[in-house]
Amino acid sequence: MEPKNNIYSSVDAAVADIPDGATIMFGGFGGAGFPNNLIQGLARQGARNLKVISNNCGTGDGELGILFKNHQVTRVVAAFPGPGAKHFQEQLDAGEIELELVPQGILCERMRAYGAGIPAFYSPVGVGTEVARGKEERLIRGKRYILEDALGADCALIKAHRADRLGNLVYRKAARNFNPIMATAAKLTIVEVDKIVEVGTLDPEAIVTPSIFVDRIVQAKGLRFV
């Protein structure tokens, strides 16, 4: 079987068919590991009514900020929108955006569950807090737990350091964060990397995301908002 050609020549081509209303996961945390070129491509592409799943909601116009600035987002699932998420905050205050605030470890565990075929799981996090509101609570071996639903998406936009031409990925330092988990939880995973290398040049022991989780690869010069 010939490997399918997953490599895109531009970020714009890689995100061209993302439809209005799509639910999209975005990797990144604290400025590291955001797929900033893909985000810029999505801003140019102009899809609207997007449902965003991301730890943060941008820094000024940077990272996810541009999508909020362009009024492309209507719903957000996040753990820490962040003090710099100016455009997000304005639209939240104006009632233009719906927000579901999720504890960070639960946010990624819900993605992990989805990717692993687990529909829901019991968790101790948020018991007795407003996070537990409306959720089933259950006593397991004398401790209280709440039921958390798995979380999937139509599309994941992620950032890695290197991809081989099949889509095996390695990351760099703390830029890994949510990226490998999101790759498993979306129908379509698009990765931007600093460099695409030949198959066989990445050490199989070091691959973090196996190519089975990756659909599209685009090489783009790192774009960073500090």
Partner: protein
């Protein structure tokens, strides 16, 4: 209110003495963020950052920043020998799964039962953010809260029942403030130490729940 307590730096300095050699530790925002600088030289602790670092070192020097290596506050940091990188899921396997020895977080309110509120002030502007605080509070083997003993308006932050949105229930083991070190025990709050020049009665006056102590309460030592 005129009183002489510890500065924020001194609270951090006192909290650093709670860290045993070899411990895996997560530090939150606020005063906890000052603690790393005061870890006694003769011990090694492994700082965990929920964005996927174990063995985080000091801030990167100017000109040597690597923006793929940042802490949870977006500050470029370094790593120490023996450090490891991993995903967000593994970072929270460590928090929620009970693998971290000590976590030190800031606090807005702590109740007499050890409930913690530390992520949102009711009525404050902005969406707020839970971040990793709930996962950390639930899973920490030992949770220390460092904070000012009282709010700016003088109101108690150690309260009978939290009125701010909760982070987790019955999770706090020890509270370290500018006035005292207080342990949350099954029988209630136990006053372990008071700041120099502060009497147990003064600490009680600034604390809602009843404090338990016997005889002379030792002074908070900073090293």
């Amino acid at each position: 209110m005129s009183r002489q307590g510890l500065t924020r730096e001194q609270i951090a300095q006192r909290a650093a003495l709670e860290l045993p050699d070899g411990a895996f530790v997560n530090l939150g925002w606020g005063i906890p963020n000052l603690i790393a600088a005061y870890v006694p030289r003769e011990i090694t602790v492994y700082f965990h950052s929920e964005n996927g670092i174990l063995g985080m070192g000091p801030r990167a020097a100017a000109g040597e920043e690597d923006f793929d290596l940042v802490d949870a506050m977006k500050v470029p940091v370094t790593v120490i020998p023996g450090a490891a990188f991993f995903s967000q899921v593994d970072a929270h396997v460590m928090t929620r799964g009970g693998h971290l020895d000590i976590c030190i977080l800031g606090g807005l309110q702590v109740s007499g039962k050890g409930d913690l509120a530390n992520w949102r002030v009711p009525g404050a502007k902005g969406a707020g953010g839970i971040g990793g605080a709930m996962d950390i509070s639930v899973g920490a083997q030992r949770l220390i809260v460092t904070m000012e003993h009282n709010a700016k308006d003088g109101s108690a932050k150690i309260v009978n029942a939290c009125t701010y949105p909760l982070t987790a229930v019955q999770c706090v083991n020890t509270i370290i403030t500018d006035l005292a070190v207080i342990d949350v025990m099954p029988e209630g709050l136990v006053l372990r130490e008071t700041a120099a020049g502060i009497t147990p009665e003064e600490v009680q006056k600034h604390t809602e729940p009843k404090l338990r102590y016997k005889g002379k309460v030792p002074e908070m030592h900073l090293r």
